[in-house]
């Protein structure tokens, strides 16, 4: 099989390349050629196609998400804002919290257990890459009708996946949501949140500064996970029958991730990490381009040094592999031995695969031949940005004109009440929550059935300065409200999470969000998206809490039918003294019951 080197790309400028199959548009491909001044090699095409995908580049959402910054309220608490792996918030006494929510909707439909499990794994690594100890998870779930046959397949698998992965990591699950609506049939929403704790002066960033520093890959071996699309590249030319059948499903190894957490914490403690990045959806492509782009600007990588689970993998496949439980770090030559020793202690495979340079180029070789030579920023940060057309959905005003007051009054109130209480959206979620460990590590102050989770932080990291403080977290969302009015719906989601946090006695400080929508190429969906982001940004300003990060999930639809626009909002708050937390529920006989608000 011919290796598509940079030299070969020069010699065969007109070779047809399978960019369409990789989801790239004509003009996007033309731009890559323009940036490089030649056609990309197949490895470069692999990198640009994943980095410029909607998932990694936010090309359709970027123009709207900007409001979260431009309209952001002043906040003394914000230490790291949007754009990093996760936002970081000052919670006092020298402590900081980092949190983020992310979707794993499509994989959870294909293989519910593994899809949901790897969703938890991914968000946990995001939190680790900030230099934090992950301390709790939450999950926000939406399924089709509770009695739909496919829900019977998807729901138990998703819950088991979250339960087996999160429980095995020793992260208490401190809350979440479960909702049912026919619009989610064939497209469940699985949003996972992770929160981490760190010392405020120990924040790590995804950056690779310092020429001569080593680029280290550590964690699980790289296998053919989630690279269905890459097979068109692995065959020398895409007309050739692609030889291998590659799985599109990633399987998680929570035990490896648990070791990776403990290993990373020791690495941070030993101060042997200059920069760090988790390997998420776009694997090595993403980690190398982003680290290089944010550092001194250049990096040399020997791709053939990447340790493989399957020795037949081609460079393009290695670049696109979504194998889980991997991290990349930048380490000074002096610290490499200490770094390796800590990895060995935790039985974590570790390999130096390259070096930071000041050339401004990301250069990758494969057994001595150059297969990638690009300015990393063009892949990481300078992807396409679209102003997609917007259009208010036909029937939006009719939908709003239908006044519930016009519904017939029920004649039998008792039956009406029972049917409300018996509906899956109201019924107890204990079937789900009892599969989650809410106690592990002994710092959970509130979890199920409370409306917000509360954690004591003073004892999480033994040895560090202690504090009486606690943090509170809630996630909320309501697709039906957002469908009626995406602007107000997003605001209601924020208001609910904000209230749930405030009700524990915490002061809400910051917001994360996961925006689950249909296809951005549909102007009506894009209108919903624009309205929802505008609503959320305005509400954040009104309440004085900045958005610190989040995730956009588009293309949530079966056929042409999109799910309800479903912004899910997470709010983090702080309690100065966690001992003062307020529980919900009537705890004392004879106490007065007061209704606040309208």
């Amino acid at each position: 099989m011919t290796l598509d080197t940079v030299g070969r790309a020069h010699e065969t400028p007109d070779e047809r390349q399978p960019y369409t199959e990789l989801g790239m548009k004509d003009d996007e491909y033309a731009r890559v050629r323009e940036i490089l001044g030649r056609r990309p090699t197949s490895s470069e095409l692999a990198i640009y196609s994943v980095m410029w995908s909607e998932h990694c580049s936010y090309k359709s959402s970027k123009v709207h998400l900007r409001q979260f910054s431009t309209k952001a309220p002043k906040s003394d608490a914000l230490l790291v804002g949007m754009g990093e792996n996760a936002g970081v918030v000052d919670i006092g006494d020298g402590w900081a919290a980092t949190f983020k929510i992310e979707s794993h909707n499509h994989p959870s439909y294909v293989e519910p257990h593994q899809g949901a499990a790897t969703g938890v794994g991914g968000i946990v690594r995001d939190i680790m890459s900030m230099g934090a100890r992950p301390i709790a998870v939450m999950d926000s779930l939406r399924f089709g009708a509770a009695d739909a046959p496919d829900t019977r397949r998807v729901l138990p698998g998703v819950v088991e996946g979250i339960s087996s992965y999160g429980n095995c990591l020793g992260l208490p699950n401190i809350g979440g949501e479960v909702a049912f609506d026919p619009c989610y049939i064939g497209n469940p929403l699985v949003n996972a949140l992770c929160v981490g704790l760190l010392r405020k002066d120990k924040i790590k960033l995804a950056t690779a500064p310092g020429p001569g520093n080593k680029v280290v890959l550590f964690g699980a071996l790289t296998g053919p996970d989630g690279i269905g699309g890459a097979s068109v590249l692995a065959s020398a030319t895409f007309e050739e029958e692609s030889q291998a059948k590659r799985p599109s499903v990633q399987v998680g190894d929570p035990f490896m991730e648990k070791l990776l957490i403990e290993c990373c914490l020791e690495l941070f403690e030993a101060d042997v990490v200059v920069g760090i990045q988790d390997l998420g959806a776009a694997g090595v492509s993403c980690a190398t381009t982003e680290l290089a782009a944010k550092g001194t600007g250049g990096m040399d990588v020997r791709l053939d040094l990447v340790p493989l689970r399957d020795p037949t993998l081609r460079p393009e496949e290695i670049l696109m592999s979504e194998s889980q439980e991997r991290m990349m770090a930048v380490v000074t030559p002096d610290d490499i031995d200490a770094f390796t020793a800590i990895c060995n202690k935790w039985d974590i495979p570790v390999t130096v695969i390259g070096e930071v340079t000041d050339t401004g180029r990301l250069v990758m070789t494969w057994h001595g031949e150059t297969i990638v030579d690009i300015p990393p920023g063009t892949a990481a940060d300078e992807g396409p940005v679209y102003e997609r057309p917007l259009h208010e959905p036909a029937g939006q005003s009719a939908l709003n004109a239908a006044d519930p007051a016009m519904l017939p009054r029920p004649s039998d109130l008792r039956a009406a009440l029972l049917s409300v209480l018996g509906s899956p959206n109201i019924a107890s979620k204990e079937w789900v929550t009892s599969q989650y460990d809410r106690y592990v590590r002994g710092n959970t102050v509130l979890a199920q059935p409370a409306d917000a989770g509360v954690l004591r932080i003073g004892e999480i990291m033994p040895g560090a300065t202690t504090t009486n403080r606690g943090i509170a977290l809630a996630t909320d969302g309501n697709g039906r409200y957002a469908k009626l009015d995406p602007y107000a719906g997003a605001q209601l989601a924020l208001a609910e999470a904000y209230r749930n946090v405030a009700m524990t006695g915490a002061v809400p400080l910051a917001v994360t969000n996961c925006l689950n929508f249909g296809s951005p190429e549909d102007p009506e969906v894009m209108w919903q998206f624009a309205e929802a982001t505008r609503g959320l940004a305005d509400a954040c300003r009104a309440l004085g809490v900045p958005v610190t990060g989040g995730n956009v999930s588009f293309y949530n639809q079966t056929g042409s039918a999109a799910v309800h626009p479903t912004p899910v909002v997470g709010v983090l708050g702080v309690l100065d003294d966690v001992g003062t937390r307020v529980r919900s529920g009537f705890t004392e006989e004879g106490a007065r019951v007061v209704l606040l608000g309208e």
């Binding site: 088991e160 339960s163 087996s164 429980n167 095995c168 020793g170 190894d253 929570p254 035990f255 490896m256 648990k258 070791l259 935790w346 039985d347 929550t433 009892s434 599969q435 989650y436 460990d437 809410r438 106690y439 592990v440 590590r441 002994g442 710092n443 959970t444 102050v445 004591r456 004892e459 033994p462 966690v578 001992g579």
Partner: protein, 226 residues
């Protein structure tokens, strides 16, 4: 200070070691971290094997851990009378190491279950349970997917006849034979239980109440009076 030193073992994948150490401290003893890969019990007076997913619970819970270098020290020490308490994964490891009879298998309901569990003490004649009374009912969390205690009939009959059943579920969460939640060896120094007393030692966190603290105050007294 008392000088009572309780070792808390960490295997790869152990989760509740920090909680266990806290509980030991709350009872006034010193918690000594023990590492699975060391052939070293650090001269502790008792050992706590905490819960978690050692080696990911792959293969069978506790199956790989029981071969750890530390276990090579712990097994003879336990046979010689060192007080050892294993909870959840720790219980599974003790069974795999044949320090306790029987085995823990997949919950009858097939799901992981985390709940505040009502339990009843049967026999409290062990260094870890002297602060409880026979017949006493407590609430302590359980959280496991493989906690159904099984053994052959002779073993079960023997456990019952010898008073080796320490703790029974009131409302069986996993299908354990005879509602068994915790047992001890014949000598009484080795105990295993599925519930997590270390998660029920403070009013602020975890389960309602502090019903689990007694395990730690018991061992503290046993060691100080020894």
């Amino acid at each position: 200070m008392s000088g009572a030193r309780v070792g808390v073992v960490t295997f790869p994948g152990t989760l509740d070691d920090q909680d266990a150490a806290r509980a030991v401290r709350l009872a006034g003893a010193e918690a000594v971290p023990l590492w699975h890969a060391d052939h070293d019990l650090k001269g502790v007076d008792a050992v706590f094997l905490p819960g978690g997913f050692s080696y990911g619970d792959y293969l069978r819970c506790g199956a790989i851990s029981r071969f750890a270098p530390l276990m090579e020290e712990l097994i003879p020490a336990a046979r010689a009378g060192l007080p050892v308490l294993g909870t959840c994964n720790g219980f599974q490891i003790l069974c795999e190491a044949h320090l306790l009879p029987g085995a823990l298998t997949r919950n009858a309901g097939l799901h992981y279950v985390c709940r505040d569990q009502k339990l009843r003490f049967e026999n409290v004649d062990t260094p870890w349970t002297s602060d409880y009374a026979p017949g006493q009912e407590v609430v302590i969390p359980v959280k496991h997917g493989e906690g159904r205690f099984v053994a052959n009939e002779t073993t079960i009959t023997g456990l019952e006849a010898n008073g080796q059943v320490v703790l029974r579920y009131v409302g069986n969460p996993n299908g354990s034979l005879n509602d068994i939640a915790g047992i001890r060896n014949e000598a009484g120094n080795v105990i295993g239980l599925m519930p997590h007393p270390e998660h029920a030692v403070e009013e602020l966190t975890g389960a309602p109440g502090t019903d689990g603290l007694g395990f730690f105050t018991s061992i503290m007294k046993a060691l100080v009076n020894a």
